[in-house]
Amino acid sequence: MKRSWFWTALVATFITVVAFLAPQSVHAAEKTYTIGTDVTFAPFEFANKDNQYVGIDIDLMNAIAKTEGFKVNIKPLGFNAAVQALEAKQIDGVIAGMSITPERQAKFAMSDPYYTSGVVGAAKTGAHIKSLNDLRGKKVAVKTGTASADYVNSIKKKYNLTVVTFDDSNNVYQDVITGNSAACFEDQPVMQYGIATGLALKIFTKPAESGTYGIAIKKGEPELLAKVNAGIKKLKANGQYDKIVAKYLGTGSNKSQKEKNDSTQETDHSFLGLLKTNSGTLMGGLGETLLLTVVAIVCATVVGILIGLLGVIPNKLAQGTATTFIYIFRGLPLMVLALLIYTGIPSLTGTKIPAFVAGIVTLTLNEGAYTAAFVKGGIGSVDKGQMEAARSLGLPWSKAMRRVILPQGIKIMIPSFINQFIITLKDTSILSVIGLLELTQTGKIIIARNMEGFKIWTMVALMYLIIITLLTWLSNWVQKKVNA
């Protein structure tokens, strides 16, 4: 029996899989270190109105590199993604207002302390909360993995607090402003920055000493650790450190903080004003979203069709492979899959995966599994008599499939394909967890600076809707062409 078509398909699947799993070789130039950082932790790190990353940590890291004579490539990944990337040894260090804890010291090489943080509590302006005692039995919000989270956990028994955690500072504040939580806790400069930017919050505690910030360095980089420690020491001694801190915090008063903020902020906070200032940044995010979507749709469609076909080949092994693929990758939540691929695989194999590649692989596997399921179902829904009639004429299985079954199956599948394309576009937003600067992540970053959550999310939502509308029109047009 001639099955050349089938073998071609099988070989193509194999090549696709190998291409995805092949290690991405990344050659770092000598003495350039990649340092990850958060994107939403003003005033330590945040994007200013020109979409440049600025803040105490950024300036400090650059100053250390300058005095110690090495190059640094600062990657704004988001806090969790940065820590996970460091764990997976995808980057050399993280500077992101990280408290020095025994757990972190065990995992990474932590530098000497460069900042002593003080955690403060804040409540809604006008709320009758004057001290920790007023919080008894209430809900408080903190950001995950921060010194304030540790602090709140240390006092939650005493004051009978319920703790809710968020990945973004702005969500922490909004939870208090909307009244879900009675108060939030955050490092003093961070909180002060937010309030100076216009948050309707009021600090009601004195800064509680909660620990010190250090730079996390990849284990096995003693040279970098030594340079970082030496740099911190020199900058503190020559006064440059104090200058950097003052540049963002002013004298510590609310008024001087406000003045400092204005240098990085949009002047016009109206919807149109914000849109005008941020349109470039948002369009950049949209571009990344579209690129992710298009590449993911192409890869997921190819993989989905191949796996779907594997599922209908009259061969137990092929069908088992397809069923298992669909079972695993349709069963895993997209976010879990993304984190597993981005941080899990490198920690196992020791090879880096760029976030974009990890994102595409994630979408390809997940959307590909859904595609495979409806491709398999679509083919299965073609009348069994069609295959019998084609085979009775002497056509081999592959020819019968290609000429008779697939053309009919694809017609049945078209609405599912359109649906899947739209889902893929929306699912790219989940990839913000691995630090991809797509539209949703871009929105988060802008909000971290200007605290205008509602207006910015409205812009982001409208952009998604416009693209989805265009995609739907295009799909309907294609569908009409096919059915004509």
């Binding site: 069609q386 009639a389 002497g394 008779v404």
Partner: protein
């Protein structure tokens, strides 16, 4: 006389359920064999075994001295010389009437496109549907569809034709046209195996009628023997039911 099909002690089981329980059946060259019997007797299953659409549990099926019940046989080559017509036509709705007919000869490299098209037009003329060549199957009536299906099955120039209840899904007024085409084929000497409930037609065209009951062949013979002098009590009951319905 040359034996074209020879089934020997053929069995088929679905799980623990015996469907075909030891069938021996021969079809000679140019012979028209009609399989009759109540529903579930196994006649369609046996017919579909002749071109390998149905597998066997044991026994042998020799087509021109090749046992197609053996694994590893090139069933596609066998099918090229056996045409089949289905109860529900099974035309390919995604292609025109002409493309339905030319698909196999072109795909299998038997004819080039021009030859296949010319051949298709000839076949359509034979079944009286010349003007329908460019139509899509869904615009045809049931009787027209079945005649196209016959033309499609003939396109590979088969030596044997299998008909699986070709008129059962048709409105009564359409049956005549389809039977007329089959009658023409029989007269031209085509070797045919037909499963049908059209007893009048069976009587008219069959060289031999085979009566199936419960997975066995219970009686076979000329149309006169079967219809006028039935021996087996089950055949007598069956004929009474069918002819007096």
């Amino acid at each position: 006389m040359t034996t074209r099909v020879e089934m020997k002690n053929v069995h088929k089981q679905y799980g623990n359920n015996d469907v075909i329980k030891g069938v021996d059946l021969q079809v000679q060259d140019n012979e028209v064999v009609v399989l009759i019997g109540p529903s579930g007797a196994g006649k369609s299953t046996v017919l579909r075994m002749i071109n390998g659409l149905e597998t066997t549990t044991s026994g042998s099926i020799m087509i021109d001295n090749v046992d197609i019940a053996k694994p590893g046989v090139n069933i596609n080559a066998i099918r090229e010389k056996i045409g089949m017509v289905f109860q529900h036509f099974n035309l390919f709705p995604n292609m025109s009437v002409r493309d339905n007919i030319t698909l196999a000869p072109i795909e299998l490299g038997v004819m080039d496109k021009a030859t296949a098209n010319a051949e298709a037009d000839k076949l359509l003329a034979t079944v009286g549907l010349s003007e329908k060549a460019d139509e899509m199957p869904n615009s045809l009536s049931g009787g027209q569809k079945q005649r196209v299906a016959i033309a499609r099955a003939l396109a590979m120039k088969p030596e044997i034709m299998l008909f699986d209840e070709p008129t059962s899904a048709l409105d009564p007024e359409m049956v005549g046209d389809v039977l007329a085409v089959m009658r023409k084929l029989a007269r031209q000497g085509m070797t045919m195996v037909i499963v049908t409930h059209e007893m009048g037609f069976a009587k008219e065209v069959a060289d031999r009628v085979v009566f199936f009951g419960d997975g066995h062949i219970l009686e076979q013979g000329t149309p006169e023997q079967i219809f006028d002098h039935p021996n087996h009590p089950r055949l007598q009951t069956f004929l009474n039911q069918v002819l007096n319905a």
